[in-house]
């Protein structure tokens, strides 16, 4: 059959976000994960197991479990999504599919939003399981609403996705990508107030922790832990985490080049 050239097919704008391309990308990422049930199981179950472990490590001091448990509810989604996204986008770069997609009318924003949407959905499931387990079965004593815990967890997941995407641009192999985890995540983990309150650190370190986004993720969780309502500090923490996520997503978009050497 001979088809006349549809030379004038909608020259769909590729700069702005295109809803159906974004959702198609998100669906594709989730479909890939469905073919890899072991990864999904690890993503969903490991945080729950860690919380369970922690609960009995601090068997004698439930207050400590409250503090650390709430902080970890914010940290888990960040770390998981960071790892999964950095490897997934690195594979996209090395397999040539990224080059193919960028030679097609796919906007960079569509790709990034697609990934964020897919991993965000997964983060919701992960955080729901972990938060539910901690609050209802492990006796995590939260003063505020568990929904707010979930909100912070979701934003943390988004931040993790953003960081992973950004970092994958600087990794040439899976080995390097995995090594970015200690480089990017561990310093934040040490300085975020999980081990000791931030204001008790050396002033220089406290200053550093003030500019690291994970600190605000943990602060936000602790606000929910101690207060019944949304405090001003909570709103500020949430906005900072969300703002950082958006900023890093933007930086990540800048690392996607249609033309490469």
């Amino acid at each position: 059959m001979s088809t006349p050239h549809p030379a004038t097919v909608t020259p769909a704008p590729t700069g702005a976000l295109n809803l159906s391309r974004t959702t198609a990308t998100a669906a594709r990422v989730l479909r890939q994960l469905r073919h890899d049930p072991r990864t999904v199981a690890l993503m969903l179950l490991v945080p729950c197991l860690m919380l369970l472990l922690l609960r009995y490590v601090f068997d004698g001091s439930p207050r400590t479990f409250d503090n650390i448990g709430a902080s970890l509810l914010g940290i888990f989604p960040l770390i998981t999504m960071f790892l999964v996204t950095s490897i997934a986008t690195l594979r996209e770069r090395t397999s040539g599919t990224l080059e193919r997609l960028l030679a097609m009318p796919l906007g960079k924003g569509d790709l990034i939003a697609g990934y964020a949407l897919a991993f965000g959905a997964l983060a919701i499931v992960q955080s729901t399981l972990a938060t539910g387990l901690a609050v209802w079965f492990l006796g995590l004593d939260v003063t505020g609403s568990p929904w707010l815990l979930l909100l912070v967890a979701l934003l943390d997941a988004l931040l993790g996705t953003a960081l992973g995407l950004f970092v994958s641009a600087f990794a040439a192999s899976e080995f390097q990508a995995v090594q970015f985890m200690p480089a990017v995540i561990f310093p934040q983990l040490l300085l975020c107030g999980l081990f000791t309150p931030r204001d008790a650190m050396h002033p220089v370190l406290e200053g550093v922790s003030d500019v690291l986004p994970m600190s605000y993720a943990v602060d936000g969780m602790n606000e929910v832990l101690r207060h019944t309502d949304m405090t001003a500090a909570f709103v500020r923490d949430v906005l900072i985490v969300a703002g950082c996520a958006l900023l890093v997503l933007g930086l990540g978009a800048a690392t996607l080049r249609r033309r490469t050497a």
Partner: protein
Amino acid sequence: MMNYSSRPPEDPAVRAQDLTVVRGARTVLRGLDFTVPRGQVTGLLGPSGCGKSTLMRAVVGTQAKVTGALDVLGRPAGHPALRTRIGYVTQAPSVYDDLTVRQNLDYFAAILRPGSASADRRQDVERVLTDVDLTPHADALAGALSGGQRSRVSLAVALLGTPELLVLDEPTVGLDPVLRRDLWRLFHTLAAERGATLLISSHVMDEAERCHRLLLMRAGEILADDTPDALRTRTGSETVEAAFLHLVDAANAAGSTGRTGRTKETTR
């Protein structure tokens, strides 16, 4: 300029003037001038590392540091409007190994034509599956297929949406003779019946005989731009391979007697 076919004289699908590409410290393409006529199969031949892939990436618009003029389908290469009109197959199959063949095609079809009805897209997917003869494997994971099958999935993706220009980087590498023959038949059908322009690279000289036109490359330069017949006649050779070797020797001889930066370029 050259108008071998019976088609009305129109703009060539690709027109390059003084096309130069630098990668790192190396100049990979050195001031090339060539055209790729519409509706024909043009072969891009030359030894590995001579710049074939770089030339193709420049045409598709994924190559950085391109200088000179390069017009593709009437627009500068890399123009956003070209992204739906060019199908591109990289040397290594670029598909998702953890998706089935059909899921791969469904996704790329959705990216290509987000507005179209899903029935249309499904029809398109079925058509390209038939084209590359993968319908029986449509529901297999791409990663579970053989190398030749995976490269056909990659080709099928490029055929989605009936592109006007197909840029295929060594599409027949590693395929058995039967499949190679079938694919070349498909390429000719695409040109003859769908009016597509094909630019196909290969380092296997026997495939050259199946092209309407040839661009022979060596070390970032174009040695010849002609039809296979004319090449053989001009060099007095039996095969295109012999013609190519003849041209290489001639170029080497010219190179040793006073270094001419550019090699001869022939249109006739």
